[in-house]
């Protein structure tokens, strides 16, 4: 599910020169593009809860998937200082107020995420024209909702994203009914077990982003086999 669906109606243009404007300027990926040529960004957020209106982002982890490979050199992990206390949620993510006290605000972290969501970032001009990276997440609603809320708060608007959701893929491939939303993380482990992927002991935003990216590689390999052909982006794009 993309931000478009969450935000019906007109959307204001972002202010030029901002990271959001650069992302908006990058071209979206044609859904007919062979999946092997698509760049994705596996993203995971640790938050104090599920509601972007009441809860806050505490950490961001992301790692790109380029031509079927997870590029660990570009893996990033940022802890974020929240406005309020982390409260009970520390039980889930292990991030305490003390640990986050000297971390940057989300306003400083968000531009890095938006840069990673397109090619042609500061680390190299690999393409003449920047192309967006498809957002890859497990139970992607959390990531899209919090990103969108942050963008609107900081830039007054947001940008539609193309999304691949490994939870949706799993549901589609395994034909299971919609699971409890709150159990997203458990589901990630369960999905990985299905493919006998290694068990990750600790959870962090980056570990989960990596876990999600690996799951996606496994899922797309199986899906390609089921289809008997190479996949296109449209085959995995969230609908």
């Amino acid at each position: 599910m993309g931000l478009r669906e969450l935000l019906p109606g007109r959307r204001a243009r972002p202010t030029p020169g901002t990271a959001l404007a650069d992302l908006a300027a990058a071209s979206a990926v044609d859904p007919r593009t062979p999946l092997a040529q698509v760049q994705l960004l596996a993203l995971d957020l640790e938050t104090t809860g599920l509601d972007p209106r009441r809860h806050e982002v505490l950490s961001v982890g992301h790692v790109p998937v380029v031509h079927g490979r997870i590029v660990l050199a570009r893996a990033r992990h940022e802890l974020v200082r929240p406005q309020g206390p982390v409260g009970e949620s520390a039980v889930h993510h292990g991030l305490t107020d003390d640990r986050l006290a000297h971390r940057p605000d989300l306003a400083l972290v968000l531009p890095g995420v938006l840069e990673a969501l397109r090619t042609g970032d500061v680390e190299g001009a690999e393409d003449a024209r920047p192309v967006r990276r498809v957002l890859l997440a497990h139970f992607a609603q959390i990531e899209t909702a919090f990103l969108s809320a942050a963008c609107r708060r900081l830039y007054g608007t947001d940008v539609p994203l193309q999304v691949v959701d490994t939870l949706t893929l799993a549901q589609r491939m395994l034909r299971v009914p919609t699971p409890e939303l709150a159990s997203g993380r458990l589901r990630l482990d369960a999905c990985r077990r299905h493919y006998r992927l290694p068990r990750y002991r600790a959870h962090s935003a980056l570990t989960d982003a990596l876990a999600c990216a690996e799951l996606f590689l496994a899922q797309s390999a199986e899906l390609a086999e089921q289809h008997g052909r190479a996949l296109r982006l449209a085959d995995v794009l969230a609908r």
């Binding site: 982890g61 079927g68 490979r69 997870i70 590029v71 660990l72 050199a73 893996a75 992990h77 493919y195 006998r196 992927l197 290694p198 990750y200 002991r201 600790a202 962090s204 980056l206 570990t207 990596l210 990216a213 690996e214 590689l217 496994a218 390999a221 199986e222 390609a224 086999e225």
Partner: protein, 615 residues
Amino acid sequence: MDVELAEIRDFLAEHAPFDTLPADVLDRLPSRCTVSYARRGTVVLRPGDRGDRLYLVRSGAVDITDDGHLVDRVGAGSGFGMSALVEHAPTRYAATAREDTLLLELPQPDFDALVAEHPAVAVHFATTHHGRITAAITQLQTPARGSAVLKTAVRDLLRVDPVSVAPSATVAEGARAMTEAGVSSLLVMDEGGLIGIVTDRDLRRRVLAAGVSPDRPVAEVMTPDPVTLPARALALEALLEMTGRNIHHLPVVEDGRVLGLVTTTDLVRLERSNPVYVVADVQRQADVAGVVEQAARIPAVVGQLVREDASAADVGRVVAALTDALTRRLVVLAESALGPAPGRYAWVALGSAAREEQGLGGDQDHALVLADDADPSDPWWAALAERVTEGLEACGLPRCDGDVMATNPRWRLRVGGWRAQFGRWSDEPAPDAVLQAAIFYDMRAVHGEAELVEGLRAEVVPLGGRSDLLLAHLTAQAARMRPPIGFFRGFVLEDAGEHRDTLDLKRGIAAIVQLARVHALRARSTALGTGARLLAARDAGVIAAETATDLTDALELLSYLRLRHQAAQVAAGEAPDNHLDPRRLGSLDRRHLRDAFAIVRAAQQGLSSRSPQVG
């Protein structure tokens, strides 16, 4: 940057050679890597591909094959693709995902840098690479039958029924069941299906170390969905699975049913019977006692070969190689105790050892051939002979009744002395001396200067072939060794002594050996093996092609029956001999045996009618 790829870092830290890296190098390594995924059956590398990265299996398994032959199976924590990196050449092997596999990839420049800075890493990958080449070459060299692990199916390794419990059983109950059965692993079965396995290691790590109560259900500490092997899988595959995954127990499954369990101990036992390992172990021994200890393994090696249905000719070669290894080691140990030899010499095997046709329970037949400038009266030679003979005796090879051993000064001659001795056997043969002499026409250098022996034989064999008198005596000897042709009707058996009512297989074998020896001499061939001699005689037109084939087959059958008989004796804790009780033969073997003896008899008659006669 934090060590944020801690999972990858920890994974690397758990596996060789990365476990040897300093922490800061290890911390930086994950960010050099990419991750890819190969669905089961996907070819990751093809021979000839330009490899540009090292692959590490993160999860799953990859088969490394060379022209279709399995060279290695790579499990989590192990690498492949190094052949191209180490050799800077195209990939040698194919790498195919055996399971859905997650791969960690390290690009060549980073691999090169790592190897340059950390010799232990370089050694590890060079060794792995070398090991795969060795395995590939071994496979090439063993087309028909290879080592036991290549040949044995895991089905044949299963010894005891596995111990199992229901998933609801407590850890304590499981541990008790394991202790009672004296096993190190426990299968967890639900409605007849295997759902998990618990090993000693699991009890230690997941129960004791983790402080888990022994009252918890065993299902909570088991490894779910363990790796299994089909019953037809080779021991090699079990070995690769175990080393690749660092596990020690593999359930064996057929049609969804668990047949049993293969353990590393089973494989070690199997592999220790590999003659190659025995030879290597013999060479490592620093004293006679050590050599004797290794010699005790030989009957088990032969037993294993017989179970693998190796041909008697193959087993003969293996036993000869093992006996040679013992002899060589004993000679080297004697040399180091006595000081350097006072001249050039060769230690030679005689008789069946020279022909590489030994079974079990043979005795010692050997001699010394000294260079013409050596002094045979030097006490060093006698001391060497005594030490080696004594060592071989301790290894279970009795001294020769006829004293045809290097300890006998008559059989410690210079080349010139041997030439004169063979000349006497050819020119003025006294019948008894000649019969004893036959064995000297089977002479093979085991240690020392082989060319002394080759030169000698090249001279004396044609000499013997030209001597009608010698040929006549040898022919008579071959014809006298009457095989028990009538045993099929009334059993012509040994009629006295401890082997009463048995059939001496050695008589049939000896008859063929003697026939081949005299035919080869007539052909003036220096061939040593009975099969090779028959072929040489056939090629020289001395015997008919079918005679050569028939005798070769008969020898193989008799030797095979003898081996099977001896292996069974050894397995039963008896001393091996040549005396077969024909009542214990199946009707097919009995018929074949009768045919074999008939062949020998016919060949003997043919020989007598066409050869010079002696009175």
